[in-house]
Amino acid sequence: MDQISFDISIVEYGFFASAILVILVGLYGALVKKSLIKIVIGLSILESGVNLLLITIGYIQGGTAPVFSPQLLKDMPLTLENIKALGNEMVDPVPQALVLTAIVIGFGVTAVALSLVIRLYRHHHTLVIDEIKNLKW
């Protein structure tokens, strides 16, 4: 198989850039903010940024949904050329599936994180992460 190349248009650059920007915002929240809640929010934003980046990969500008409906098949019988043409037109479904999974996981993690924050608050009566270090060295 030869090298898989893909053209990146200006718009797609924009998508990538904004996704990376979201990631950086999330990192900032997680690494710099001192409040536990804000850290959790930062992690969520981080998650979203990565998901955004993931979905951008499979995205084709003006592409259609990757569904072989009976209607579609009636219009375009499955010859090799047609499949190739469709391939250039349809967005890649795999990243979307991945993102769905990742969102679910992110949701779970956020839920656990928030419940932990509640417990930490009850235990330490503070949300400042610098003060929660009974375990060290």
């Binding site: 690494l31 992460i129 610098d130 929660i132 060290k136 060295w137």
Partner: protein
């Protein structure tokens, strides 16, 4: 079944049985204990002959057990002293806690030492070496006193030594894909030159620790004095000899192949000499008999190391001879201290006095051993030291001979201190109740001191097997080579020139013994120590007339500058420094979750910055 496997099986099975029997009754356990060691000993001398080999393969390694005539000599030390100390242990340990634990580790100690001697390959050698280390460690900490200091120091040094050894073994294995000692001897000359230098050094470090060589000796006094005395006699007598055994192997088979071997020899010989001197000086300053003997052991091992390092036939012969002798007399002396500890409850030389009439048999054993230790004819130490001096002079080590001579002369001081402190001097009321130790403790001591007398008078008895053993290491037979040169021995080791003198001395000695005994029997008046009048003053009831409180003050003042430099302190300093540094390092784990997250990002950035250097 192969007899070697059988013996190991006896040891292991006996150890476990003894441990389990302890749960039922102490007597049963003690019986199993002695029985195990005796059975193994008898089996060993009846069944195992040189040339018997048991080889097997484990984890892809070819391993082999068998005995050479050289390791047979050391088996005499281990099993001889081991059986005696085992018998001695029974009474000595009576009434103590965790007997099963003690017996178990004692048997494992003897087992592992025999294993070391029977190993013909480096891996089983190392395995037995480590078993020896931890089983002896278990006994050092048995009484639970200052385990964190003494015990850890012992295990720390042992581990460093053992790992130096392991490193050497691993490199050897990678070089020749075999761990057989024989193969090592044959292919050693084909190793690269840096390995040829470093491997012996690593091995010597490993053995030097166990043999308490100078900068590595700091564990010894503590460990020797903290183990129960019954085990210390084995510990100092036999276990330290495993280090000597290894050193002999390294020097005679590896270092002798090096073209530039003299420098290593010189260094180790000097280290041995310094060990002897410093050990002696430290021994003199001790007031605790255990410590005194421990340092004395260090000093004695110094002589032996010097002899091994010099490595001429005579030097090696003397070193091995001294090893056997040292096992006999130092084993006895530690047993003596153990007996005194058992009967009086203390081993402080300034407290216990005048036991000569209360513990006469113990005194005889102590006296014989002290004579042997000090190197006075007709007991063994004299022969060994004579040979050592001769070999040193013969190989032009004049300064070293002065050093050793100084050490052995200064050795008289602590010998005297030991003998006087416990047995002679003013009798005190406090010790009136003291009785002779039980027979099962006295008999082993007497047997051992009898042997040191026998070997001193007829050194040929042991020199001949040693000579044969050394031939198996590639030494030319010493018979006819230096026997004639030596003023002292003919081929059977009986004196030619000195023989009449020797017998004369013995005759005088015997005469006095008989004379004094007869005189004693006639019923002379016994005086108490207070029954004196000095310069018209009659000493009071509680006045202490003993002058042993500050023994040898002038001498100690003279050597003080040397003594001040305690290596121990440097080690402690280094150790504390390292621990403080480690303690500082662990602060990277700051406890703040966010910091850890930042570490991740920093790590990522570093990887990305250096990705071209790191990857492809």
């Amino acid at each position: 079944m192969n007899s070697i496997v059988l013996i190991f099986g006896v040891f292991l099975g006996g150890a476990i049985l003894t441990y389990l029997a302890h749960k039922l009754s102490n007597i049963l356990s003690s019986a199993f204990f002695v029985l195990t060691i005796f059975t193994a000993t008898v089996l060993f001398y009846l069944k195992v002959e040189t040339g018997d080999v048991f080889s097997f393969s484990l984890n892809g390694l070819h391993l082999e057990w068998g005995i050479t005539s050289f390791s047979w000599i050391f088996s005499l030390i281990v099993l001889g002293l081991g059986t005696m100390a085992a018998v001695y242990s029974i009474s000595f340990m009576k009434g103590k806690e965790r007997l099963g634990y003690y017996y178990f580790n004692f048997i494992l100690g003897i087992f592992s030492m025999m294993g070391i001697l029977l190993s013909r390959d480096l891996v089983s050698f190392f395995i037995f070496w480590e078993i020896m280390t931890w089983s002896s460690y278990m006994i050092v900490v048995y009484e639970g006193r200052s385990v964190q200091k003494i015990g850890i120091k012992y295990i720390l040094f042992s581990a460093m030594g053992a790992y130096a050894m392991l490193m050497a073994i691993v490199i050897i294995y990678s070089q020749m894909q075999s761990v057989m000692i024989e193969d090592l001897i044959y292919s050693f000359s084909s190793f690269s030159i840096s390995y040829q230098i470093w491997l012996p050094i690593l091995l010597l470090t490993g053995f030097g620790v166990k043999a308490a060589m100078m900068p590595l000796h700091v564990w010894a006094p503590g460990a020797y004095s903290h183990a129960p005395m019954a085990y210390t006699s084995v510990f100092s007598g036999a276990l330290s000899k495993m280090g000597v055994y290894g050193m002999v192997l390294v020097f005679s088979t590896l270092i002798s192949q090096l073209p530039e071997h003299t420098i290593i020899r010189e260094v180790v010989a000097w280290l041995g000499g310094i060990t002897a001197v410093m050990g002696t000086l430290w021994a003199i300053t001790q007031d605790d008999a255990k410590k005194l003997l421990a340092y004395s052991s260090v000093a004695q091992l110094g002589y032996i190391i010097t002899g091994v390092a010099i490595g001429t036939e005579l030097a090696m012969l003397s070193a091995i001879f001294l090893s056997v002798l040292h096992a006999l007399f130092k084993g006895t002396l530690f047993m003596v201290v153990g007996a005194i500890e058992k009967q009086t409850g203390t081993t402080n030389l300034t407290e216990v006095t005048g036991l000569i009439r209360k513990m006469p048999w113990t005194f005889i054993a102590a006296l014989m051993s002290i004579i042997a230790l000090a190197g006075i004819p007709p007991l063994g130490g004299f022969v060994g030291k004579w040979m050592l001096y001769e070999s040193l002079i013969g190989s032009d080590h004049y300064i070293l001979v002065i050093l050793i001579f100084f050490a052995s002369t200064a050795g008289f001081l602590y010998c005297y201190k030991f003998l006087f402190g416990f047995f002679l001097g003013q009798e005190e009321k406090e010790w009136d109740h003291v009785k002779e130790a039980p027979a099962s403790m006295v008999v082993p001591m007497l047997i051992l001191s009898f042997f040191s007398f026998l070997l001193g008078t007829f050194p040929g008895l042991i020199l001949k097997p040693i000579d044969q053993g050394m031939q198996s290491l590639g030494y030319v037979p010493t018979e006819g080579h230096f026997w004639g040169m030596s003023v002292l021995f003919n081929e059977w080791g009986n004196a030619v020139v000195l023989q009449p003198i020797l017998y004369a001395i013995m005759a005088v000695f015997l005469f006095f013994l008989v004379f004094l005994t007869l005189k004693g029997l006639k019923g002379t008046r016994y005086v108490t120590t207070k029954d004196i009048s000095s310069s018209g003053e009659v000493p009071g009831e509680f006045e202490n007339l003993s002058y042993k409180q500050n023994f040898f003050q002038p001498f100690l003042r003279a050597v003080e500058p040397v003594m001040k430099r305690q290596i121990d302190k440097y080690y402690t300093g280094i150790g504390n420094g390292i621990e403080a540094f480690f303690n500082y390092v662990r602060r990277v784990y700051s406890g703040n979750g966010q910091t850890y997250a930042i570490y991740v990002i920093i790590f990522l950035v570093i990887l990305l910055l250096f990705k071209n250097n790191l990857f492809g």
